[in-house]
């Protein structure tokens, strides 16, 4: 087997392993057969723990991780920079802002729609500001960071106006948490994720073309901007749904691409691997957050802590951030 295939296999096996670990280990350790029997419908003594708590948590974690990994990977590819991930350029926080507004005015049940509107709103603004500018992609990152700051200022304002007893909840949501994963969220998230990721996988060959750079792809007769917009739009919609349900989970979108790229030997298209890596990182982080840290930290804190040194490493490494 080739190196790339072996690595893919290892990631896949680790992913399965952590699905099993997260289902079986917790405050109460259960056996694998017990979990399996419960999930296929037999009634056992730990039905509630497994069906209502652990299964949705693992499922939502898995779906979110995969989506974030794929989304970040695509953004980094189409905008030619590892910093161009939706969480760094403010798209995710646009969604968060609108979601918090939804909570603030008491429309919690419309979180999805609000998050979607917010993310699309920010993406449109970034697009309008940088389209066909000179040094478009570099400027996009800086402008995105500016928008991120702006949105965060508005967010802090809302947070300060909030009743103190709402605060911890909202703050925890804002850090990204699986603590409130609900079984009822699983089907809709699963459907959306399968649908959008399906389209992305079908279209993934075009990513290779995009990677060549704008000018080369243009000469091959492709309308590169249109393709990029379609890709970006799909990712924005996907991640808006994810972040509405579990909050803006830090770093995963931005981490997966570079990790996969450094593991794989050749340049190529590693969309699926990036997705699996996203799922893996999220499940591991959730395991750490749930079992190894005191007072039930939100998983976003753990991913943020993983992301921080990696971001610095990326800065200081030789290959690093290609400006």
């Amino acid at each position: 087997m080739k190196r790339n295939q072996i690595i893919t296999m290892i990631i896949f096996i680790l992913l399965l392993l952590f699905i099993i670990i997260n289902l079986t280990i917790g405050d109460k350790n259960l056996s694998l057969s017990e979990v399996f029997n419960t999930l296929i419908g037999q009634s056992t003594s730990h039905q509630f723990i497994i069906k209502q708590l652990r299964f949705p948590r693992v499922m939502i974690g898995l779906i979110s991780g995969i989506s974030l990994g794929i989304g970040g990977y695509i953004f980094q590819k189409i905008f030619h920079n590892p910093l161009a991930s939706p969480d760094i350029i403010g798209i995710t926080s646009g969604g968060s802002l609108f979601t918090v507004i939804a909570i603030y005015i008491g429309l919690e049940s419309f979180q999805f729609i609000f998050s979607l509107i917010g993310s699309l709103f920010v993406s449109t603004i970034i697009y309008l500001l940088v389209y066909k500018e000179e040094k478009m992609y570099q400027k996009m990152i800086l402008i995105g960071i500016g928008i991120n700051t702006f949105v965060h200022a508005l967010l802090s304002f809302l947070l300060l106006k909030m009743a103190p007893y709402d605060m911890p909840l909202v703050l925890r949501w804002l850090s990204g948490s699986l603590n409130h994963a609900l079984l009822s969220q699983v089907p809709i998230l699963l459907m959306i994720a399968i649908f959008i990721i399906g389209i992305l996988i079908i279209k993934q060959k075009e990513l290779l073309l995009i990677e060549l750079g704008d000018e080369k792809a243009q000469t091959l007769g492709q309308n590169i901007y249109k393709e990029k917009i379609v890709f970006a739009l799909l990712v924005v919609i996907l991640l808006a749904f994810i972040s509405a349900s579990i909050g803006p989970i830090a770093s995963i979108a931005f981490l997966c691409g570079p990790i996969i790229q450094s593991l794989m030997r050749k340049n190529g298209n590693y969309l699926i691997q990036a997705g699996m890596m996203g799922g893996l990182i999220l499940l591991i982080s959730d395991f750490v957050a749930k079992n190894l840290l005191p007072n039930q930290y939100p998983v976003g804190i753990v991913t943020g802590l993983i992301g921080a040194p990696y971001l610095l490493y990326l800065l200081f490494s030789k290959r690093g951030i290609n400006t």
Partner: protein, 298 residues
Amino acid sequence: MLSLQEIIRSLTTNNFNTTIIQIRIPRILFAIIAGSSLSISGYIMQKVTRNPISDASILGINAGASLFVIIGLTFFHLSSKHMYILFGLLGGIFAAICVYLFAYIKKDYTPLTITLAGMAVSISFMAVVNTLMLSNNQVMEQFRFWQVGSLGGMNYTILLLFIPYYIIGLFLSFSYAKKIDMLALGDEYANALGINVKITKLILIFISVLLSVIVTALAGPIGFMGLMVPHIVSIFKSQNAFKTILLTGLTGSILLVIFDTLARVVLSPQEIEVGIFTSSIGALIFIYVVKKYRGGLS
């Protein structure tokens, strides 16, 4: 709302309005010196890094200060404001070293690289800040007001604490004005004129960090003042650093007083924290500057 007459009367006599005035005066005074402090800091930073897109919040210095202050709150139970300043200063210097080190390793001092480095340092530090903040509800409560930047709690004690550092910072900036002019000619010219470029730059960065971190430590991060004001002052096309520092300081004072007043009255009786106000306006200006920026972006 008080009339001017009432204000003058209450300064000389003693009535209910006196209390209101006594709360407002230190606040305005603080806004005046904080505004100039932050703006001059930004001006120096932009000159040293030759980067129009920089100030203490962009280069991660505020994040560094936040990080060290929250470490202090969580592990060393900071109580005195002096310790806030000390920790903030250490954090700011630490962040500046990180950014500088990055540019040094890359041998790349272009605006985009330095700005991205600052942002990355900022994001990483804030991740740790968030972790520590959530660990403890009491720290969270203390910190969330500090973190947005507010002049609401100003009093004469804090003001008096601030002034010595401010004077040192101001004195240093004015006395280094000539060297800023020389550096503007380019490193080689400056060398030929007999100044040690590296050491001068380090000292200037230290002055800039000092000026912004004292404000951050006492009032929380009041973002983007340092970015905005030098750009506004550049309208005057002053070539002389001494004059520019003076203009920058004055403009910064006026602007922060205006912002703080607006923040206080726009949604009255609610109050917007001035840090939120400046960083929302500043972020828009930041976007504008980036968009307009031509030339050696990478």
